[in-house]
Each structure stands twice: as structure tokens, then as C-alpha cells.
């Protein structure tokens, strides 16, 4: 097969992340990987598979189970000009490392008045489904985003997953990648070459004048499903993939809301004190006189993730619940949206609540 023909392939996001990592390690000998399981036979859900054979155990370092200490070690190496990539199989495990991340990683560039840099990338995987329970499913996007000095990114597609991974590794700042486990399955076109997608601003994924939707990570996949269904009923939305939670650049979204007058934000984490609150606050301030109705937020309800599928049914926002929210926001369209909502409900009921929706494997 000629090189040209392989220039872009369909990959799932896990493979895209693996490719990004390998290419960065090839291109720059200062890049190295650390994590619990990075060198094991499963290779972090396939995202680090084979790297230890290629780059050796000095650049693919299997960690002791000691998240705080190893984060400090990664920071120390980063200060000396290395580019460590650390992986946590769950966001939740990184809770142990917050002192290092929120203080030393986030603040050292500021504290040293720009002299030191901390080019650290930390991948954290958001768990969901199969009864994960309360401590294997947390998101904490708004927690990381609260802290100046960190960059916080949430890829939603294989293309972005690769491009943001490359950009994160090359970035001279500490970048937290919040990577949804169910996003790993999503497939899409991924260029073969080493490219980066810039770590600033959202991406417009669907276009329309009736309403603006902002979603990130896995919530984007549900939102696409909703947007496509309601567009069949003639309701067309600007749908943004938020992509970058910090630094937060809302200018495109503000321009959109000025036009649509309506905004719904779908959070991947808890709604209360979540990312949606900040977006809603900033957009409201900027677009107050253009708003036709109050912006709305969807997100996880105000309790920990239950393990049982019996309790999970109403826990996560869905394409259906988003469509219902939109119907409430545009009363004049409510009647037309009944059909799509019903269709989305049927779709939802056709797959178990606790495994990835196979339909989302090829969302783009």
C-alpha cells in the first residue's frame, strides 16, 4: 500500500492516543512515560501497548502505586527539561497527587517569575459503566480548571485525541488530559503524520441558528446524537465541542449565543459547581441582552455515582434528556420535537445503560 493511501485512516481514540505517544517519543528523546500499567500486557486500555518494547523500560516506566510521590518525581524531571507523560487509569487515583499538581505543577512557572517550566502531561481516564461505582468514575474537570497554571483538556474524538495529546506533550505547561473511557471506542479519521491541535478554544461540530449547545468529552457524543435527531425536525443547533476547559476561551461560543439567544451546556461531571456554571456565568455576562431564555445546564445529579445499573439509568445526561431540555427552551418547537425525543428514548432503551453505546463508535 503506497504511503499516500495510508495518510489518514479510521482509528479509534485509544489507537490515536497510542500513535500520538509513540510519534512524540520517536521525535523527542526527552519524552517519557510513567504510570501504573504502562508497560503491562494491557497497556492502559491499549493506549500504551508495545511502547515498552520499542522504547525500553527507562522511557516507559512502570510505577509503584504511589501517585503523589511519582507526580512529584515527574515534576522534578520536567523542571530539568524532560517531558514526562503520566497516566492514571482513573481520574480518582490522581486525588492523591493534588498537592503536587495544584501547587508545584501549576504554580512553579508563576512563582519563579517565568524562569522554570513544567512541561508535564498527565492523562487521567474517566471511568463509567459496568458498576464502576463512586470512586472509579469521577471527573473533577471543574476542580482542575479552578487552578491557574494548569491546562485542562478533554478530547472527544480520535482526531482531537491524537492532536491534543501531541500538543500537550509539546506544551511547556502542565496539561491535564481528562480522557473518557467510553471515548476510547469512538472511531474516526486520523492523519498518520504528527500533528497538533491547538490547546485553545472550542470546535464547532454542528451548525444552526436555533440554539447553542456546549458539550465536552463523552457528553459531546450524546449531544451529537441529540443534535442530529432534532435537526430532522428542523431545529438546528450550533454544537461546540468545548475541548479546552482551561484556559477557557468562550469567544466563539459567545458569538454563537449572540445569534441564537439560547444556550445549553452538557457537563460530563457533576452539574453543581461544574464547568457549566462558569460557562453559563461568562456567557450570561457577555450576552445578557441577546438571551431569549436563561441558559440551561445538564450534568450529573448531586450524589456520588451509584454502582447498580438500577440507579444508573437516570444518572447520566443522555441525548434524550438533552433533547427534552431543548424542547423546554424552545416552547414553540416542543411539538415538533416529540418525535425525535421518542426516537432517542427508543435508542436509549435499546442498549444497556452500563456499557458503551455501540452507535457512538463511529460518530463522525
Amino acid at each position: 500500500m503506497p504511503e499516500r493511501a495510508r495518510a489518514s485512516r479510521r482509528l479509534n481514540a485509544a489507537a490515536a492516543i497510542l500513535e500520538a505517544t509513540a510519534q512524540c517519543m520517536d521525535a523527542d528523546s526527552s519524552v517519557f512515560l510513567m504510570g501504573e500499567g504502562v508497560a503491562d500486557p494491557k497497556g492502559i486500555f491499549g493506549t500504551t501497548l508495545g511502547l515498552v518494547d520499542r522504547f525500553g523500560p527507562d522511557r516507559v516506566i512502570e510505577m509503584p502505586v504511589a501517585e503523589n510521590g511519582l507526580t512529584g518525581i515527574a515534576i522534578g524531571a520536567a523542571l530539568m527539561g524532560r517531558r514526562p507523560v503520566m497516566v492514571h487509569q482513573r481520574v480518582d487515583f490522581a486525588l492523591l497527587a493534588l498537592e503536587q499538581l495544584l501547587n508545584n505543577a501549576a504554580k512553579t512557572h508563576f512563582v519563579t517569575n517565568g524562569v522554570h517550566k513544567v512541561p508535564l502531561t498527565v492523562r487521567m481516564i474517566i471511568g463509567r459503566g459496568w458498576g464502576q461505582g463512586p470512586e472509579h468514575s469521577q471527573v473533577f474537570d471543574s476542580v482542575f480548571a479552578h487552578v491557574p497554571g494548569l491546562k485542562v483538556v478533554m478530547p472527544s474524538t480520535p482526531y482531537e485525541a491524537k492532536g491534543m495529546m501531541v500538543a500537550a506533550i509539546r506544551d511547556d505547561n502542565p496539561v491535564i488530559i481528562l480522557e473518557h473511557r467510553w471515548m476510547h471506542y469512538a472511531e474516526g479519521e486520523v492523519p498518520l503524520q504528527l500533528y497538533e491541535t491547538p490547546l485553545i478554544g472550542p470546535a464547532l461540530v454542528r451548525q444552526g441558528d436555533d440554539l447553542t449547545i456546549v458539550a465536552s468529552s463523552y457528553a459531546l457524543l450524546e449531544s451529537i446524537e441529540a443534535a442530529d435527531h432534532i435537526s430532522e425536525a428542523g431545529i438546528h443547533c450550533d454544537l461546540f465541542d468545548l475541548r479546552i476547559v482551561r484556559p477557557l476561551d468562550l469567544s466563539l461560543i459567545i458569538a454563537s449565543v449572540r445569534r441564537t439567544g439560547r444556550l445549553v451546556i452538557v457537563d460530563t461531571g457533576w452539574k453543581m459547581f461544574g464547568v457549566g456554571a462558569e460557562i453559563m456565568a461568562q456567557v450570561t455576562e457577555a450576552c445578557f441582552h441577546d438571551l431569549k431564555a436563561s441558559p440551561r445546564r445538564l450534568g450529573l445529579p448531586d450524589h456520588p455515582t451509584p454502582s447498580s445499573r438500577g440507579l444508573a439509568t437516570t444518572f447520566y445526561p443522555t441525548a434524550q434528556s438533552l433533547a427534552e431540555t431543548i424542547a423546554a427552551l424552545i416552547p414553540e418547537a416542543a411539538h415538533r420535537l416529540a418525535g425525535p425525543i421518542k426516537a432517542l428514548e427508543n435508542l436509549r432503551l435499546s442498549v444497556p445503560v452500563d456499557v458503551p453505546n455501540p452507535a457512538f463508535r463511529v460518530p463522525f
Binding site: 501504573e36 500499567g37 508497560a39 503491562d40 500486557p41 494491557k42 512502570e62 510505577m63 509503584p64 502505586v65 504511589a66 501517585e67 503523589n68 510521590g69 480518582d92 487515583f93 492523591l96 459496568w130 458498576g131 464502576q132 461505582g133 463512586p134 470512586e135 472509579h136 448531586d302 450524589h303 456520588p304 451509584p306 454502582s307 447498580s308 445499573r309 438500577g310 440507579l311 439509568t313 437516570t314 444518572f315 452500563d354
Partner: protein, 407 residues
């Protein structure tokens, strides 16, 4: 001074040895050269100072217990230390109790593994098959009011301590009748009346919680103890050391039980820690620390009884390392020796030391068990298991209604 290994050595695991110290001092330097190692000499010297001629030491040369062989046999020394009398009959009762516990846990987990592919238990499961001697031995040394705090690999601990089987299986099925009402899944099983305080899925997280339970016991002057179960990876978390330091400082009645199955998920111990005995990590905080054969339920029991006696006497915490091996994959119902992180030979060697078969053989040899008795025990257990699964399967799922976020 002549030093020789006592016959009980294997009984107390590879790494705990009994040294009988004879009166003849002349050969000690020869012994040293013959590979005996200096740590044993050191212990023997200490025993001499204490006027003892029988001393149980661990691999680091620390004296676990010592005494006079003429007055008391080793077993008696152990039991004196543990504050319990022991004779052959009780020995057999104890062995049988340990056997039953292991047999029950084995069959329950085998049934979980068998049924897991039905996809009715929709949560991760971390099975303890192969490791049953640890929970059996530890929990038999405990009273009901003693508390245990477990980990992600909690089933055996929960069951050996007396946790309700139905509530556990119902929880795995995500049912309202589960011990957590479906909130927690398999990594959160607990049972208040049985003294299973909590299980926690974050590695190391339960260690200080157990120490805190012990603090409460001490503050209320209760004669209970708390046990923190932990894996060989959990000692890598700093929180282990933080809890250990405080427990020693305040003489808390807590026992840190480290089940060393050589792996953290697929990562071997030697990739995560220097090749040194794990017990050093307890000893450095100043607590008695000992390694025993974690596939020998009686050894586990004896060592734990010592630690429990210490704790109840107000003498503070202990660190117990039990060497053992997990037969199945880290999480899930399958054998996974094919995927490359451990050799089939290693696995077979450990399977050869199956704690259940070893105990069965011991009891058969002593005439306590025969094929008929075993079949009867198995039938009892299987019917209990059937009933519990039926209960779990028939229980309703919880509805998305009330959630208890605040008390």
C-alpha cells in the same frame, strides 16, 4: 554455641524460623561460615541474654518470641504469647474450622467466576482464589466485635469475618437487597454486625481508616482490635507509613495484614520495590513485623493470634506479611497466565501449595476428614450458595429514588 533449625520451621513458613540454642559455644564461627548468616547468630545471642534456649525469629533476625524448651514446647510458647491454651483436640477443631472457611470461600468464588459470564453481576470482581488461607487464619483469630477494613479484593475477608453471603451477592448483582443497596458494588462490601467496617477500592485508603477504628477502641478502652487488610502494592502508598507511624506512636490496637501475592495488577513486586522483605516496612516504624506462609492457614492463625494478643494487651500494632498467590486474573473470572506477565511454571508452583488441599491432606492424615465428610460439607455449602444466588437474582433492582447523601 550450636544452633540448629527446629522441626517447626516449615510450619511457620519459609521465612520464620525456630532456633534452638544449645549450650555449646565453640562452633559458632564455623556455623557462621557454613552460611547460617549473621542474623540468626544475633538472635541466638539475644536469646542467650534473655536466658532462653528456644527462639522464633524472622528473616531479619528479629525475635518474634522466645522461651525455654524444657518448660514449654514451641506451641506452648506461641499460645502463651497469644494468651490461649492449646492442645491437640483444639488444634483439630481449629484446623477443621479453617478448612471449612477456606472450602466455603473457594466454592463461593468459583461459583461467582462460573456465573460471571451471565452478565448479571455487572461490576468488577477481584477474586481471592488461592489466597483463602489468609482471610481464614486472620479472621479466626478475631472476635465479632473486632473490625476489619478491606480492599478491592474483599470477598474472602468479608465472608471469613462473618459477612452476610446473600447481601454480598445481591450487591454484586446491583440489587436493592445488597449490603450497599446497589450503591457500592463488589469493592464496597461491608457488614456492621459482623465487624466488616468497610471495603474501599482505592489502594491504601482503608489502612488509616482501620487505624482510626482502633483509635476509637483505645479511646473507649474497649478490648477490641482493628485489622487493615492490604496488598503488596498498598505499602507503596505513603499513607501506609503515615498510619503505621501514628499507630505505633499511640499503641493502637490495629493489625496491618499485608497479603503479598507478588503482583499489583500485572506488575510484579520487583518492578515496584527493591528486592527486600516487605516486613522491613513495618519494622522501621518500630512494630513487630513478621512474614509467614500465607498459604498455611494455621501459620496465619498463630501469627495473627500473637498480634491480637499484643493489641488487646495494649502493646500496640503489628505488621503481618503473608506470602500467597492469586490464581485468577487481577479482576474478573479467568485464568490469565497466557498473557505474559507471569509464567505458567510460577503459577503451577503456587498451585502446588494450594492452601485448601494442604489443609485437606493434613486433616485426612489426622483422620479428621474423609471423602464422605468432605462431600457432605460441600453439599451444605453448595446449597447455601444456591439459595444466596437465587436471592440475589430475584431481588429487585433499586429504583432511582431516594439517595442518602446526607445523614
Amino acid at each position: 554455641m550450636h544452633l540448629s533449625a527446629h522441626g517447626h520451621v516449615t510450619r511457620f513458613a519459609d521465612r520464620v524460623e525456630v532456633i534452638s540454642v544449645s549450650g555449646d559455644d565453640s562452633h559458632w564461627e564455623d556455623q557462621l561460615k557454613s552460611g547460617w548468616g549473621t542474623t540468626r547468630f544475633f538472635a541466638a545471642i539475644e536469646a542467650r541474654k534473655a536466658n532462653s534456649d528456644l527462639v522464633l525469629v524472622d528473616v531479619m533476625g528479629a525475635i518474634v518470641m522466645s522461651g525455654k524448651s524444657q518448660q514449654q514446647g514451641l506451641g506452648a510458647i506461641v499460645d502463651t504469647y497469644a494468651g490461649r491454651a492449646r492442645n491437640d483436640d483444639l488444634g483439630n477443631d481449629v484446623s477443621l474450622a479453617l478448612y471449612k472457611d477456606m472450602l466455603r470461600n473457594r466454592r463461593i468464588e468459583e461459583e461467582i467466576a462460573r456465573r460471571y459470564t451471565d452478565q448479571e453481576m455487572r461490576c468488577p470482581v477481584h477474586l481471592s482464589i488461592g489466597q483463602e488461607a489468609v482471610s481464614a487464619g486472620v479472621c479466626l483469630a478475631l472476635d465479632r466485635q473486632d473490625q476489619i477494613v478491606s480492599t478491592h479484593r474483599a470477598h474472602a475477608h468479608y465472608l471469613s469475618k462473618g459477612g452476610d453471603l446473600k447481601a454480598m451477592l445481591a450487591e454484586f448483582h446491583g440489587k436493592a437487597s445488597g449490603c450497599c443497596g446497589g450503591r457500592g458494588g463488589s469493592m464496597h462490601i461491608f457488614d456492621v454486625p459482623a465487624g466488616v467496617l468497610l471495603s474501599l477500592p482505592i489502594v491504601g485508603s482503608g489502612i488509616p481508616v482501620a487505624a482510626g477504628a482502633a483509635l476509637a477502641m483505645k479511646q473507649r478502652a474497649e478490648p477490641h482490635v482493628a485489622v487493615a487488610f492490604l496488598g503488596d502494592a498498598a505499602v507503596e502508598e505513603g499513607v501506609f507509613h503515615e498510619a503505621a507511624n501514628f499507630a505505633v506512636l499511640h499503641s493502637l490496637p490495629v493489625i496491618f495484614v499485608c497479603e503479598n501475592n507478588l503482583y499489583s495488577v500485572y506488575t510484579p513486586l520487583k518492578t515496584r520495590q527493591p528486592d527486600l522483605p516487605l516486613e522491613r516496612l513495618g519494622r522501621c516504624h518500630g512494630m513487630p513485623s513478621i512474614t509467614a506462609d500465607g498459604n498455611d492457614a494455621e501459620a496465619v492463625l498463630a501469627v495473627t493470634r500473637s498480634a491480637v494478643a499484643r493489641a488487646r494487651a495494649g502493646d500496640g500494632p503489628s505488621f503481618l506479611v503473608f506470602d500467597t498467590y492469586r490464581w485468577l486474573e487481577h479482576c474478573g473470572p479467568n485464568y490469565d497466565n497466557d498473557i505474559g506477565y507471569r509464567t505458567p511454571a510460577e503459577f503451577e508452583a503456587w498451585r502446588g501449595r494450594d492452601p485448601l488441599s494442604r489443609m485437606e491432606e493434613h486433616l485426612r492424615n489426622n483422620g479428621i476428614l474423609d471423602a464422605g465428610k468432605i462431600a457432605a460439607l460441600e453439599a451444605d455449602i453448595d446449597s447455601e450458595i444456591d439459595i444466596a444466588f437465587k436471592f440475589a437474582l430475584e431481588s429487585p433492582l433499586p429504583g432511582p429514588g431516594e439517595v442518602n447523601v446526607y445523614a
